[in-house]
């Protein structure tokens, strides 16, 4: 995997999660108290940086066979979950995520709770909502950064991809002060799911002592192969071929 491919993979994975985290922070800021929401988001980013630092350094110290088997299996499981969700959404069997509706729900929920000051935080509810939103959406990205970066022995490039995505999405969101409902989240999730599945497949099999035909060039078949498989499943589900028409 080239540094450019590593950067783009992490950028896309982080961008799609950042769009969802941004919606939560915007709802907490708009519906409650901006400084507390930003404090919560900032605290979560610091916590995620600590996770990436700890995990990244642990990952680079593992024997390569163990690393590939464990990390590859986890990436494969993540990737298949992302692909499953995006295939169901693309074929109309699951509702697409609506950032505008999620934002409206977040603001409505925020307005119900009374304000409570804790220490330097003026509105504890806004702080915790923003913290949880960023931390939970970001944890998967932190794992992807640490494992992709660690496997490629290039954690800094992976971190750069994640930070660039967070900055781009954050800047766009705060410029328009509205959720980024026009980002094609499902398409990005499909691409990232494909990459996670293909790389997870490749590394996990190598970790259990498989020699891929063509060595690293096998990825040139695995990535489009996984994408075509998922597209074919989406096509079959759209036609209702497995369960009859809706």
């Amino acid at each position: 995997m080239s540094p450019t491919a590593l950067f783009l993979t992490v950028f896309l994975a982080c961008a799609v999660e950042a769009v969802e985290a941004l919606t939560v922070v915007l709802a907490a800021g708009t519906g409650r108290h901006w400084p507390s929401a930003l404090q919560g988001a900032g605290a979560a980013l610091v916590a995620l940086a600590v996770v990436v630092g700890a995990l990244g350094s642990a990952v680079t110290h593992l024997p390569i066979g163990v690393l590939r088997a464990v990390v590859g299996t986890l990436l494969l499981l993540f990737g298949l979950q992302w692909l499953r969700k995006s295939v169901l959404r693309a074929s109309g069997w699951k509702a697409r995520r609506d950032e505008a509706a999620a934002f409206a729900r977040g603001v409505a929920a925020a307005e119900q709770v009374p304000a409570e000051r804790r220490g330097k935080v003026a509105d504890w509810y806004a702080f915790t909502v923003a913290f949880k939103g960023v931390a939970l959406e970001g944890l998967e990205v932190a794992f992807i950064v640490a494992t992709f970066g660690g496997n490629q022995h290039d954690v800094p490039v992976a971190v750069l991809g994640a930070v660039a995505a967070a900055v781009v999405v954050g800047a766009a969101g705060f410029a328009i002060r509205a959720p980024l409902s026009r980002v094609p989240e499902n398409a990005v999730k499909f691409v990232v799911g494909t990459l996670l599945t293909a790389f997870g497949l490749f590394w996990s099999a190598e970790g259990v002592q498989v020699d891929w035909p063509g060595s690293d060039a096998a990825l040139l078949v695995l990535v489009p192969g996984v994408a075509l498989l998922a597209l074919a499943y989406a096509w079959v589900l759209r036609r209702g071929a497995w369960v009859g028409p809706r």
Partner: protein, 70 residues
């Protein structure tokens, strides 16, 4: 105890996700691949087959449960 359960639930959701059946395909397939490799068989084709089966099975279950019984 409740916190411990919540902690376990969080990690289960994080790693296994919406459908545990995917892990039930992937993990045994990788175990079998490792066993075959130890016996001198380079079963590179087994994990991709398991992935195709896992995704098909999970999607089929999801669609069937959306439609409900019958």
């Amino acid at each position: 105890m409740r916190r411990l359960r919540a902690f376990g639930r969080f990690w289960y959701d994080f790693v296994i996700g919406d459908d545990w059946r995917i892990a039930c395909w992937v993990v045994p397939a990788l175990g079998a691949t490792a066993g075959l490799a130890a016996a001198g068989v380079n079963a590179w084709w087994l994990p991709p087959l398991a992935v195709a089966g896992a995704l098909a099975h999970s999607l089929h279950r999801a669609v069937k449960s959306t439609r409900g019984p019958g």
